[in-house]
C-alpha cells in the first residue's frame, strides 16, 4: 500500500502508478499536453510539472512514480509561472487562427492557455510558416498549428504499428509529416486524429461544417462494419450525423478505431438509399406503398404455404441486422411461414466453422476476450489477415508482438509482415495437410489430454497413419514455439473454411486448440454473425443454439411462440439454393443480404432466382439481389434503429438510434407487419419487447436487459446455460488428393478499407480505395512481365474482368487476389465452387485464372 499527500489530500494506492494517475484517482486534474491515456508517458511538454517536497526541482507528474510518503502540490504560483512560460513558447509559432480552426472549442491548447496562459505574447519575430496541406482527401493536415507533442507519431508507431508518420527536420523547422509527404500512405485508422490536442490533424469529412459546441446529441453506440463491434460515439446536429468519434477508455476498443468505423459512416446518408417499397409490375420495379407491398407479400406467402406447404418458403438472415431482427425473422419463418429453411451467408464461413468447433468442443469455445490476445505467448494466425478483416483485433496481435509473443503466420497476412516471428507457407491449397501434420507432431509430444476421448482417439489414429515429419521451412520453429507456449491464441480466418476440405483444416485447428488449451478466435467480417446464430437463424437450431431435434427444446419454444414449429430439419444455404434450382422452394425472403453478389457463381444465382414465385429483399440499398426481386422493402440502417449485436467474442452490445428518418422501417417491424397480415400477430411495439421475449425463451439470453447490455461488458455466458459438445465422434474427412499445376489461381481478398457492398456507398472509403486491384507476389508479376499499376485482363471458366496489378510482398505463392466489394467486379462472380460435405460451406480453391496485360491479344 502506498499513501501520499496530493494538495493536502491523503491518497492511498493499491498498486504503483505515476503521480499523474494517482492525482486522477483522487479527483485532482493535472494539466497535460503530450500525455494521452492510450500512449506511454513521454514527459515532452513539461506542463504536468508538480512540486514534490524535498525534491529540488519541479517534477513531471506523468513520469514520476508515486512513492510512499510523498507530499505533492499540483498548483502553486511557481508551477503556474512555469506553465505560463511553456505555453508562451508554444504560442510563438502557433497561428492563433482559432476563429477559423475547427478544433476551437475542444482544443487542449486553447483550454490550457485560457487557464494558465499569457494574455499577451512578447514574441516579435515572424511565426513559422508551413502551408496547409490539401493533398490528402481524408486527413486535413495543418502543421502550423502543431505543438510537437508527438502524440500522433507515438500513436502511429507504438499502438497502431503503421509507422507512417514522423517528425522531420529539427528545431524550429521540425514538423509532422507522413513519410510519403503528399497524401498519407497508411492504414487510415485516423487514430492520430483522436490524439491530436490541437487542430493540426483533422478529418476532411466534417471540417468547416460545424462547431463542437453545436453538437446537440451524442449517442454512444457500436460500429456497423465488422464482427469486433467497437464502441464509438455518434455526434448529431439537427438529426444528421456530424461525425463519429471513439469513446475513450470504453468498450473493447478503448478508444481505438479503424478506417471503416471512423470514416465509413456516411453511407447512411447516401442519396442511393431506398426510400419507398418497390414492387415489380410488368417486369419493372416500381415505387409502391407500404400497405400494397406488405399485402402482396402476405398474400403470396399464404398462398404458397397453402398450396406447397411451409417447406417451399425459405429465408436468408443478415449478419448486418440486430439480434432482435434476426430473432423475429426466424420466428416469422418457423411459426408464421411454417418452415425451418432459415440460414444466412455466414454458413459460408463463420457459422460453419463455429458449428464445427462447438459440436466438437462445446458451446462457447470461440467466446474468448479479444484483449486476451495481448497476453499470449504465441499467436497462431491462419487463413486470413486479421488486421484487414477485424482491424482492432489485429491491433491486439501487434501488441502481443511488442510484448514479446511469437507471431506465427500460416499462409500470409500483410498487416503482420512487420510483426511476424515465423511465416510458414504451406504448399498451394495444402493447409489442411500442414495443420494435420502439426497436430500429429503436437500429439506425439504432448500425448492424450483425456478430456474428450473421441478427439484423442482420432488424433491417435492420425498419428499412426502419418508418415515422416513434414519438411517445410519454419515448421520446426512453429512446433517448438507451440510446445513451449503456456498461453496460445489461434486466430482463424475464412480462407481455410471456404475450401472443399474445410472440415479437415477445422479438425486440425480444433485438435490444436484442444491439445494446447488455446484460445480460439474466429475472424468475422460482419457485425452480427455470432448473433444471428444465437438468435436461431440456422436451420437446425433454435435460439440459444438449442438443437431442433431434441423434443424438449422444441416443445418449449412452441409453447412460448404460440404455434407449431415444423418437424423436419431445415435446409442450409446451399440446400436452399439447390431447392430453388429444382423449384421445390417457391419463395425466398432475403433480409439485409446480397447473395447474388456475395456468393460465388452470381450469374447462375441470378438465373435460378428467376424460378421463384416470390423473391422479397429487405435492404437499405438496391443491391444486385434487390434488382431482381419481386418486392423490395426499405429498411433502416445503422444509427437509425436500436438493437443488440453479438460480436465475435460473444459480447452482446447495444447499438442505439442516433437519428430519425422516414426512409424505411426496422427489419423486425416489417416482418411483424407481414406476420400480422398472415394471421399470426407478433405484438411487438419496440425492440425492448423483443429483447424481453428473447430473455424469456432463449436459454442463452436468460434475464438479460438493455440496462445490463448497455454497460459494455455483457460477456459470455451472460446468465445463460451453455451446452456441451454435440458430437461424440469426429466426422470423417472427405478429401480428394488434387494437383494444382496451373500457373495462377484466383482467390478472394479481404480489404482493410471495404466491407461487403456497404462501403461502396461511403464516399470517404471510396476515396481511400477507389478501385479493385489484382494482388500478386513479386515473383508472379515478374513471370508475367508486369509491374505495379499495369492494367490486366484475367479470366476464369466463370467469367472475366480487368483491374490494375498491385504487388504484395507478403504473398508467397502463385495465387492472385481480388476483392469482392466493387460494383461489377466482384471476385465471387469469377469463382467456381463446390460444397464442403461436412460444414456445408462452399469451397473455392483451385480456381485457375489466365492473366494477360491489357490490350495484348492472346
Amino acid at each position: 500500500m502506498i499513501s501520499l499527500t496530493i494538495n493536502e489530500k491523503e491518497v492511498t494506492l493499491d498498486k504503483p502508478v505515476t503521480v499523474l494517475e494517482a492525482a486522477k484517482q483522487a479527483g485532482i486534474k493535472i494539466p497535460t499536453l503530450c500525455h494521452h491515456d492510450l500512449l506511454k508517458p513521454w514527459s515532452g511538454c513539461r506542463l504536468c510539472v508538480v512540486e514534490v517536497e524535498r525534491m529540488p526541482r519541479l517534477q513531471t507528474a506523468c513520469t514520476l512514480m508515486a512513492a510512499d510518503g510523498m507530499v505533492i502540490k499540483t498548483e502553486s504560483e511557481a508551477i503556474s509561472n512555469v506553465r505560463r512560460g511553456i505555453l508562451e513558447f508554444l504560442l510563438i509559432n502557433h497561428p492563433l487562427d482559432c476563429p477559423y480552426c475547427d478544433k476551437a472549442g475542444e482544443c487542449e491548447l486553447q483550454d490550457l492557455v485560457n487557464k494558465y496562459g499569457p494574455t499577451v505574447g512578447r514574441y516579435k519575430e515572424e511565426k513559422r510558416k508551413v502551408p496547409e496541406s490539401h493533398k490528402d482527401q481524408i486527413i486535413a493536415r495543418n502543421t502550423e498549428r502543431c505543438v510537437m507533442c508527438t502524440r500522433c507519431v507515438r500513436m502511429c508507431n507504438d499502438v497502431q504499428g503503421a509507422s507512417a508518420i514522423s517528425i522531420i527536420g529539427r528545431g524550429n523547422h521540425s514538423r509532422m509529416e507522413p513519410f510519403s509527404s503528399e497524401s498519407f500512405d497508411c492504414e487510415y485508422c485516423g487514430n492520430c486524429l483522436t490524439v491530436c490536442p490541437v487542430g493540426a490533424i483533422l478529418s476532411r469529412l466534417y471540417i468547416h461544417s460545424f462547431r463542437p459546441w453545436q453538437v446537440d446529441k451524442e449517442v454512444g453506440t457500436i460500429c456497423s462494419y465488422c464482427g469486433v463491434g467497437c464502441s464509438l460515439v455518434v455526434q448529431v446536429r439537427d438529426d444528421s450525423i456530424k461525425r463519429v468519434i471513439p469513446k475513450l477508455g470504453f468498450g473493447l476498443n478503448k478508444g481505438l478505431l479503424c478506417s471503416r468505423g471512423r470514416f465509413g459512416y456516411e453511407y447512411v446518408n447516401s442519396p442511393d438509399r431506398l426510400k419507398t417499397p418497390l414492387v415489380r409490375k410488368n417486369g419493372k420495379l416500381e415505387e409502391s406503398t407500404w400497405s400494397e407491398a406488405l399485402s402482396i407479400i402476405a398474400d403470396k406467402l399464404t398462398e404458397i404455404k397453402g398450396t406447397s406447404g411451409g417447406s417451399a418458403i425459405a429465408g436468408i438472415a443478415s449478419p448486418r441486422c440486430s439480434n432482435e431482427d434476426n430473432y423475429v425473422l426466424q420466428k416469422f419463418m418457423r411459426v408464421t411461414c411454417g418452415s425451418n429453411n432459415i440460414d444466412s451467408l455466414s454458413r459460408t464461413g463463420f457459422a460453419a466453422a463455429q458449428k464445427y468447433f462447438e459440436d466438437l468442443l462445446g458451446q462457447g469455445i470461440t467466446a474468448n476476450i479479444i484483449d486476451g490476445i495481448k497476453n499470449s505467448e504465441v499467436v497462431l494466425v491462419i487463413g486470413g489477415d486479421p488486421t484487414a478483416v477485424n482491424p482492432i483485433l489485429g491491433l491486439s496481435i501487434r501488441e502481443a508482438a511488442r510484448r514479446g509473443a511469437s507471431i506465427i503466420v500460416l499462409g500470409h497476412a500483410k498487416g503482420l509482415e512487420k510483426f511476424k516471428t515465423v511465416q510458414v507457407v504451406p504448399p498451394l491449397f495444402k493447409e489442411a495437410e500442414v495443420l494435420e501434420a502439426l497436430l500429429v507432431e503436437l500429439f506425439r509430444a504432448k500425448g492424450v489430454r483425456a478430456e474428450l476421448p473421441f478427439i484423442d482417439k482420432e488424433m491417435r489414429e492420425l498419428s499412426e497413419k502419418a508418415a515422416e515429419k513434414m519438411d517445410l521451412p519454419g515448421f520446426d520453429e512453429l512446433m517448438k514455439a507451440l510446445l513451449n507456449s503456456a498461453s496460445t491464441s489461434i486466430v482463424l480466418g475464412m480462407d481455410l473454411i471456404q475450401r472443399t476440405n474445410g472440415h479437415r483444416s477445422l479438425f486440425g485447428v480444433a485438435g490444436i486448440t484442444y491439445l494446447l488449451e488455446a484460445r480460439l478466435y474466429l475472424l468475422s467480417e460482419r457485425p452480427n454473425e455470432q448473433g444471428l446464430i444465437d438468435a436461431g437463424c440456422v436451420p437446425d437450431m433454435l435460439p440459444g443454439g438449442r438443437p431442433m431435434n431434441i423434443p424438449d427444446f422444441k416443445s418449449k419454444f412452441e409453447a412460448a411462440w404460440n404455434g407449431p414449429i415444423p418437424d423436419d430439419d431445415g435446409l442450409t444455404l446451399f440446400e436452399i439454393i439447390e431447392g430453388i434450382k429444382n423449384r421445390n422452394i417457391k419463395a425466398l425472403y432475403v433480409m439485409g443480404e446480397n447473395p447474388v453478389f456475395n456468393l460465388p457463381g452470381g450469374p447462375f444465382l441470378k438465373d435460378i432466382f428467376g424460378n421463384l414465385d416470390l423473391l422479397v429483399v429487405q435492404d437499405i440499398f438496391l443491391t444486385e439481389t434487390a434488382e431482381i426481386a419481386d418486392v423490395v422493402l426499405p429498411a433502416l440502417g445503422w444509427a437509425e434503429k436500436s438493437g443488440t449485436y453479438t460480436n465475435l467474442e460473444r459480447r452482446i452490445q447495444l447499438q442505439k438510434q442516433a437519428v430519425k428518418t422516414s426512409r424505411g422501417m426496422e427489419d423486425w417491424r416489417i416482418l411483424s407487419e407481414i406476420s400480422g397480415r398472415m394471421g399470426q400477430k407478433m405484438g411487438y411495439l419496440e425492440t425492448d419487447d423483443i429483447m424481453r421475449e428473447m430473455a424469456k425463451v432463449s436459454p442463452l439470453y436468460a434475464d438479460l436487459t438493455y440496462d445490463e447490455i448497455g454497460k459494455g461488458d455483457c460477456l459470455w455466458p451472460y446468465h445463460g446455460k451453455p451446452l456441451r459438445g454435440e458430437m461424440n465422434e469426429v466426422p470423417p474427412v472427405v478429401d480428394a488428393e488434387k494437383d494444382y499445376k496451373a500457373d495462377f489461381y484466383l482467390a478472394p481478398e479481404k480489404l482493410l478499407f471495404h466491407s461487403g457492398t456497404l462501403s461502396r456507398k461511403s464516399p470517404a472509403l471510396m476515396k481511400i480505395c477507389p478501385e479493385p486491384t489484382l494482388k500478386m507476389s513479386a515473383a508472379s508479376a515478374g513471370k508475367l512481365g508486369l509491374k505495379e499499376g499495369d492494367r490486366v485482363q484475367f479470366s476464369t471458366t466463370a467469367g472475366s474482368s480487368e483491374a490494375p496489378v498491385s504487388i504484395d510482398e507478403s504473398i508467397k505463392d502463385n495465387r492472385v487476389f481480388l476483392s469482392n466489394n466493387f460494383q461489377g467486379s466482384g471476385v465471387m462472380d469469377l469463382l467456381s465452387f463446390s460444397i464442403d460435405e461436412v460444414t456445408k460451406a462452399f469451397g473455392i480453391e483451385g480456381c485457375e485464372v489466365e492473366i494477360k496485360k491489357h490490350g495484348i491479344k492472346a
Binding site: C156, N157, S163, A164, I165, S166, I167, I168, G169, R170, S174, P178, F179, K418
Partner: protein, 159 residues
C-alpha cells in the same frame, strides 16, 4: 544498392547489439558514396535494418550533415554564424552565389558545385570560414574565394 554496399552495411550492423543502432553509420556511409541519400536508399535501409521508413526519414532529416538531395561534387558550406557574420560571411556567400550563378541549395549545371549556408564550423579564430567537402578554408575574402574556386575548376577541367 550494390551487393558490395549491402555487405558493408551488414558488417556495420554486426558491430551493434541492435540492428537499428547501425542507422547513423549506414546513412553516413551512403552519403559518402554518392554525396546524398536517395529515397530508394531510405527504402532499402528500412528493409535491411527493420526500421520503419518514416523513422529513417525522421532521423536523416534531423541531421543537417545528412543530405536528402543531390549535392555538387564540391559541396561548399559557408559559415554564417556570429563571428563569421561579423567578419563579412554574408558578402562571401553572395559573392560565391553570383560567381557560381546558383542560389543556396542549388547545384551548378556542370554538377561541380553546390552551396549552403551553415551554422558554426568552429573556426571562429579564422573567420570567415567555409568548408568544401571535408576541407576547411579560412580567413576568406573575395580574392581567396576566386583562387579556391578557380583552382578547383582548373583541376577538374584539366583532369
Amino acid at each position: 544498392m550494390t551487393e558490395e554496399v549491402k555487405e558493408t552495411i551488414n558488417r556495420l550492423i554486426g558491430r551493434f547489439p541492435k540492428k537499428e543502432s547501425a542507422l547513423l553509420p549506414v546513412l553516413t556511409l551512403l552519403q559518402k558514396r554518392k554525396g546524398y541519400i536517395s529515397e530508394n536508399d531510405l527504402k532499402d535501409i528500412s528493409g535491411i535494418l527493420d526500421v520503419p521508413e518514416a523513422r529513417i526519414f525522421s532521423t536523416a532529416s534531423f541531421y543537417t550533415m545528412l543530405r536528402l538531395k543531390p549535392a555538387g561534387k564540391y559541396h561548399i558550406q559557408v559559415c554564417t554564424n556570429v563571428v563569421c557574420a561579423l567578419l563579412g560571411s554574408d558578402a562571401i556567400f553572395d559573392y560565391l552565389s553570383k560567381k557560381l550563378n546558383i542560389h543556396e541549395g542549388e547545384i551548378t549545371p556542370d554538377g561541380l558545385f553546390s552551396i549552403v549556408a551553415v551554422e558554426c564550423l568552429a573556426s571562429c579564430g579564422n573567420a570567415p570560414a567555409m568548408q568544401i567537402n571535408m576541407e576547411y578554408h579560412e580567413n576568406l575574402d573575395t580574392g581567396k574565394v576566386d583562387e579556391i574556386i578557380d583552382s578547383i575548376k582548373r583541376r577538374e577541367v584539366g583532369g
